[in-house]
């Protein structure tokens, strides 16, 4: 880069840059090491069948995590995604079936509608649910933790009401293709995840809106002085996680061939863990979709590998918890160095 006057040699050797680079690459390095470890312990881990299996398992988490990345970049948190996925899954199911398995029947759509309407209904309900939470966070300045903690319970309650407590199952083939179908060797939900991640990655890194998300997260006061619409950006990121939850809810119902109010329980924890492990800072303004994808894969590989190695599920929980704390500690440490 010739346009900027070069720094002195001493300044270039600042440890800051090293620490920052290391911080960026750490999750990827850890992922590769983990894969090498599992492959050496159990060679069948590294078969294409198993790897696609991992991808399929994480694809819905991944879609939710992409939305969550936007929220965390603005220093927020969204605890409602799991509940919202359950609710939107039920909405999709109700639309697809025209009612809830004999418990009630939708007017005008006897026999149900085809999958595009079901998917659209799920996504719209998700987006609206997210936007309402965004309004509380952005315009009324209620902490996102509280708003979405409430949202988590409210959406779960709505899901119970919609499903009347029971599951709605048995969809047509076209509906089921989205969760269980394959395109070549690749499961459809994996492809949806990739498309969503690429799209979100583009929005975050290459658009005015994406830059505004980073700006609001890294310094809201300065962002205001730069003429950015702070509350608009804040509200929008919750709407985005809502849209992602709607899409995730639809895919989940499709994959399980059933929607029920208890689906997606504790997804928010896994999703937040993936985003944070992927290097997106809870202090806002740092991170991105690339890291989130790595974080999601890391969790998927870890869970899958532990199962293959026959590790007790209790120990799995412990390991994931330890990794979350480790990742955030690392983040705080690096932040201290870079600032």
């Amino acid at each position: 880069m010739t346009i900027l006057a070069p720094l002195s040699a001493a300044a270039q050797r600042r440890p800051n840059h090293l620490a920052a680079t290391l911080a960026k690459l750490a999750p990827a390095i850890f992922l590769v090491l983990l894969m090498i470890l599992f492959t050496s312990l159990a060679p069948r881990f590294f078969s294409s069948l198993n790897l696609f299996n991992v991808l399929r398992q994480v694809s819905i988490y991944g879609i939710l995590a992409v939305g969550m990345t936007f929220v965390i970049l603005t220093r927020g948190i969204d605890l409602s995604v799991g509940s919202l996925a359950a609710l939107t899954g039920l909405v999709a199911a109700v639309v697809a079936k025209g009612g809830a398995d004999g418990r009630f029947v939708l007017p005008f759509v006897s026999g149900g509608l085809s999958w595009p309407f079901a998917a659209l209904a799920a996504i719209v309900v998700g987006g609206v649910g997210g936007l309402i939470q965004g309004f509380f966070v952005a315009r009324l300045s209620v902490p996102s933790f509280v708003v979405t903690l409430g949202g988590m319970t409210v959406f779960r309650g709505l899901a119970l009401i919609v499903g009347n407590g029971g599951p709605i199952s048995g969809f047509d083939e076209a509906f089921g293709w989205w969760g269980r179908g394959m395109i070549g060797p690749a499961p459809v939900p994996v492809i949806v995840f990739v498309v969503v991640a690429v799209l979100a990655g583009f929005v975050l890194s290459a658009t005015r809106y994406g830059r505004a998300v980073y700006a609001v997260g890294s310094n809201p006061e300065a962002a205001r002085l730069c003429g950015l619409n702070i509350s608009g950006v804040l509200a929008s990121v919750y709407a985005l996680t809502g849209l992602a939850a709607g899409l995730g809810g639809f895919l989940l119902a499709s994959r399980l061939n059933s929607a029920e109010a208890v689906a997606g329980a504790q997804y928010e924890m896994t999703v937040i863990a993936a985003v944070v492990i992927g290097g997106t800072s809870l202090y806002g303004g740092r991170g991105g979709i690339g890291g989130t994808v790595i974080g999601v894969l890391l969790i998927g590989v870890l869970l899958n590998g532990l199962v293959i190695l026959n590790v007790s599920p209790y120990v799995q929980q412990l390991l994931i918890g330890a990794i979350i704390v480790g990742a955030v500690t690392f983040d705080v440490f690096v932040k201290g160095r870079v600032r």
Binding site: L4, R208, C226, G227
Partner: protein, 532 residues
């Protein structure tokens, strides 16, 4: 250029080591403090007698805060000694000073918003029963006693957050009393008080002095200093340049001592003949009705003109800038920009009309620390040269490159986080950010605070050039030489009101200082001289 009067005062300064009548309670002996190799306090000595009210004077950046921090244990000196009754002290933390009877009342309050008054009074020093539990009864009694001593009827159970600024100030003083203080240090105690409250505070301070407490009082308001204090010490550029009795000097002399250095001969102003009026404020008042809020301010700015806005911290300079930029609501009055009325409700509206603001606190309002240099540069409206919301990073970099050259920007690269740049270079990026938008009116608030000398010169050159290009510039600065060197016209503010307007050519630092700190009541001073 120091006048004869000033140098004679300097000469009166007690030679070092001289023991004065009545041993001092607290003395600072050749204190030295350096930050990152820069000496901010250079062998400063000062002593406080029991019952004395001493003023600590100096311009912003003269080292007053650092000295107070050393005396209160918040910072530790690199050299020199602090003595209490002649015994050297090692103050490792503020609590040490407090326990020894040195209380400090700071500008930014050290009370706890969510605690009650009585809890605040005893924070860090809670009376305990013999079981180690909080002795609420004794605490209540002592709180009532301390408050009563100030003639201050306030319920000790009230929450601090509910108190007015003046009441908090009094609670702070009461806190000093509960610690059985022998020395009370007050940093700008009257900055946020109404005149009536100031009078009450003065009476209390005099009472404390009569009770034998030594008081060190930092104030910008010379009028008050002359009225309240017995003695003074003037700091300038980290040195104690003068000390003596207030009775021996006038406010005018004090103002000169604070300013000290010869007036910068590099006054240039902008050469461009001022053009048409670009901006006009008429009867501008803040929506807030707090004392000292901006009231009835009228002024105009012409194209190609640099107008300095001078005033002490809290005089309303930044508040005026914030109103023009749509950050704070306007209470009354009108603004015009160009040929049309102007009343922005958000910065985006001000930006759209061609107004730019380089804010005072770069870290808090200016930069996005984790983001890259180019991203920081291209932040207004979200990006430069966007097509349909998609960023054009190449165009941004080209634009940045142009400004990097003219601003002499030194950076490890367009992608490096801006936090890795020096303060001066960060400021250049923030300036370039707005210049790229070709503003009509540029407001710069403390443009060179915390910036090294070379970068400061770059910023000055740039501002002059921008004015020459026809931009109207409103320059807010606490650095009087800077204001004098750059401005064509200077407005002075005090307590939210305009107190004067001077062409730069006919303004001197002393005149400005007087306009900023209040017209000196000469009769008071001469009366005191007559008494002496």
């Amino acid at each position: 250029m120091i006048s004869d009067a000033a140098s004679s005062v300097v000469a009166e300064r007690a030679p070092d080591g001289t023991v004065r009548s009545g041993a001092p309670v607290l003395s600072a002996d050749h204190l030295v403090k350096r930050f990152f190799g820069q000496t901010v306090l250079d062998r400063v000595s000062l002593s406080l007698q029991a019952g004395e009210i001493r003023a600590l004077l100096g311009e912003n950046g003269a080292g007053k805060s650092t000295l107070i921090n050393l005396l209160s244990g918040a910072l530790q000196p690199d050299d020199g000694a602090i003595r209490l009754d002649g015994c050297p002290l090692a103050l490792a933390r503020p609590l040490d000073a407090l326990r020894l009877g040195i209380s400090t009342i700071r500008q930014e309050f050290s009370l706890f918003d969510d605690l009650s008054v009585k809890e605040s009074l005893f924070a860090g020093n809670l009376p305990v029963t013999r079981f180690g539990l909080v002795d609420w009864r004794r605490m209540e009694a002592r709180a009532v006693e301390a408050l009563a001593r100030l003639g201050f009827a306030i319920d000790p159970d009230r929450t601090v957050a509910d108190l007015s600024v003046a009441e908090r100030q009094l609670v702070e003083i009461a806190r000093a009393l509960t610690h059985r203080s022998r020395v009370v240090i007050m940093d700008e105690p009257t900055a946020s008080l109404s005149p009536a409250e100031v009078e009450r505070l003065k009476a209390i301070v005099r009472q404390l002095a009569e009770d034998g407490i030594a008081i060190l009082c930092v104030s910008h308001r010379l009028e008050e200093v002359v009225d309240l204090c017995d003695a003074y010490t003037v700091l300038r550029d980290g040195r104690a340049v003068a000390e003596g009795k207030i009775a021996d000097v006038t406010g005018e002399v004090l103002a000169r001592l604070m300013v000290g250095r010869a007036i910068d001969s590099g006054r240039v102003g902008s050469q461009a003949a001022a053009g048409r009026v670009v901006f006009e404020a008429r009867g501008l008042s803040a929506a807030s009705d707090a004392p000292g809020a901006v009231r009835d301010v009228s002024f105009s700015l012409r194209a190609g003109e640099i107008v300095g806005l001078a005033g002490i911290v809290g005089a309303g300079r930044t508040e005026i800038a914030r109103m023009i930029f749509g950050l704070d609501p306007v209470g009354a009055g009108a603004m015009r920009l160009g040929d049309a009325p102007f009343r922005p409700r958000a910065p985006a509206q001000a930006i759209a009309r061609g107004v730019a603001l380089v804010p005072e606190d770069r870290q808090k309002f200016g930069v996005f620390p984790p983001l890259g240099v180019a991203e920081n540069f291209a932040m207004p409206k979200g990006g430069q040269g966007c097509v349909g919301g998609v960023l054009d990073r190449r165009a941004e970099r080209r634009l940045l490159a142009q400004f990097a050259a003219t601003l002499n920007l030194r950076s490890p690269g367009a992608d490096a986080p801006i936090a890795t740049l020096s303060g001066g270079n960060q400021q250049k990026v923030v300036l370039a950010r707005w210049l790229a938008l070709a503003p009509v009116l540029l407001i710069v608030d403390e443009p060179t605070r915390g910036v090294d000398i070379a970068a400061k010169a770059d910023v000055h050159t740039l501002l002059r050039r921008l004015a020459a290009e026809g931009i109207a510039i409103l320059l807010i600065s606490s650095d009087l030489p800077e204001i004098l060197a750059l401005s064509d016209r200077i407005l002075t503010l005090r307590g939210g009101r305009l107190t004067g307007e001077r062409a730069a050519a006919e303004a001197g630092e002393e005149t400005l200082m007087q306009l900023m700190t209040g017209e000196l009541p000469l009769h008071t001073t001469s009366a005191r001289l007559a008494q002496a």
